[in-house]
């Protein structure tokens, strides 16, 4: 029931976010309307960070307690995390073509994000390959924790290396130079994506519980 309410809340927020991104937010002076992809691209990657952060919490929890609930939590966060990382990569690629003139370049940010995506795809594949539940959860927990070590590399790559990708405008140490309407549209979409993730997370936990052999 709570998941259902979250789902409806996410839909309402996403519709509001779409309106803010494509209508309310002003046309950006340098890039034009193509910059509106940012309202999808940035919330998607921030949601992926949140998801993989929860994978770490669930993984550490499992390794410390061996309680399956922690493993379910890690799985339920990893799946949508991969999805949101995929959306980040594809939307970034579509944004890159008109602004950089290329769909893809081996820039530090792009490459580290692709590595993050592949590590967690590997995490999900690993889970599918190991049958014994405790061994599966232990192996997955190790990969889940090690994989998240890449998140600071993804985030700070634009600072640490000379990159084509622009530096962070929102989560940087300096006050954000972003204009208020742009920031509002971004925040609305960020909230909407977080709600959508919360729905996916709750639903996936429910499914993982039902999938267990002794469920019910």
């Amino acid at each position: 029931m709570a998941a259902r309410a979250l789902g409806w809340l996410a839909i309402v927020a996403l519709v509001g976010g779409l309106g803010a991104a494509l209508g309310y937010a002003p046309r950006e002076a340098v890039q034009g309307n193509v910059q509106r992809i940012m309202y999808l691209h940035v919330p998607a990657v921030l949601t992926a960070y949140l998801a993989f952060g929860l994978v770490v919490v669930g993984s550490v929890g499992y390794l410390l307690t061996r309680r399956p609930g922690w493993d379910r939590m890690a799985l339920a966060a990893a799946e949508p995390g991969v999805l949101f990382t995929g959306v980040t990569i594809v939307s970034g690629s579509i944004w890159g073509k008109p602004t950089w003139g290329t769909w893809w370049t081996w820039d530090a940010r792009l490459t580290s994000t692709a590595v993050l995506f592949l590590v967690y795809v590997g995490y999900l594949l690993l889970r599918g390959m190991v049958e014994e539940p405790d061994r599966r959860a232990r192996y997955a927990a190790v990969v889940g924790i090690l994989g998240a070590a890449n998140i600071p590399i993804v985030h700070f790559s634009v600072k640490w290396w000379r990159a084509l990708h622009q530096p962070s405008s929102i989560l940087g140490p300096e006050p954000s130079p972003v204009a208020a309407p742009i920031m509002v549209a971004l925040l609305v979409n960020w909230v909407a994506f977080t709600l959508l993730f919360a729905y996916f997370f709750a639903k996936r936990i429910e499914i993982a519980r039902l999938e267990e052999p002794h469920a019910g």
């Binding site: 789902g7 779409l18 991104a21 494509l22 046309r27 340098v30 890039q31 034009g32 309307n33 193509v34 509106r36 992809i37 999808l40 691209h41 998607a44 799946e79 949508p80 999805l83 995929g86 959306v87 594809v90 939307s91 579509i94 944004w95 073509k97 008109p98 602004t99 959508l196 729905y199 996916f200 639903k203 996936r204 429910e206 499914i207 039902l210 999938e211 469920a215 019910g216």
Partner: protein, 40 residues
């Protein structure tokens, strides 16, 4: 710079298809598993 609305719509359309697809997958899986539980 040209407005490139086509790229904007393409990005949002891909995201919508992926996220809606996952939503549908979860809904179907939950329905199947709940039915199985009910049949026990």
């Amino acid at each position: 710079m040209r407005d490139n609305w086509g790229y904007v719509f393409a990005a949002y359309a891909v995201a919508a298809v992926v996220l809606a697809g996952y939503w549908r997958h979860l809904a179907r899986r939950a329905k199947v598993l709940t039915g199985r539980e009910g049949a026990r």
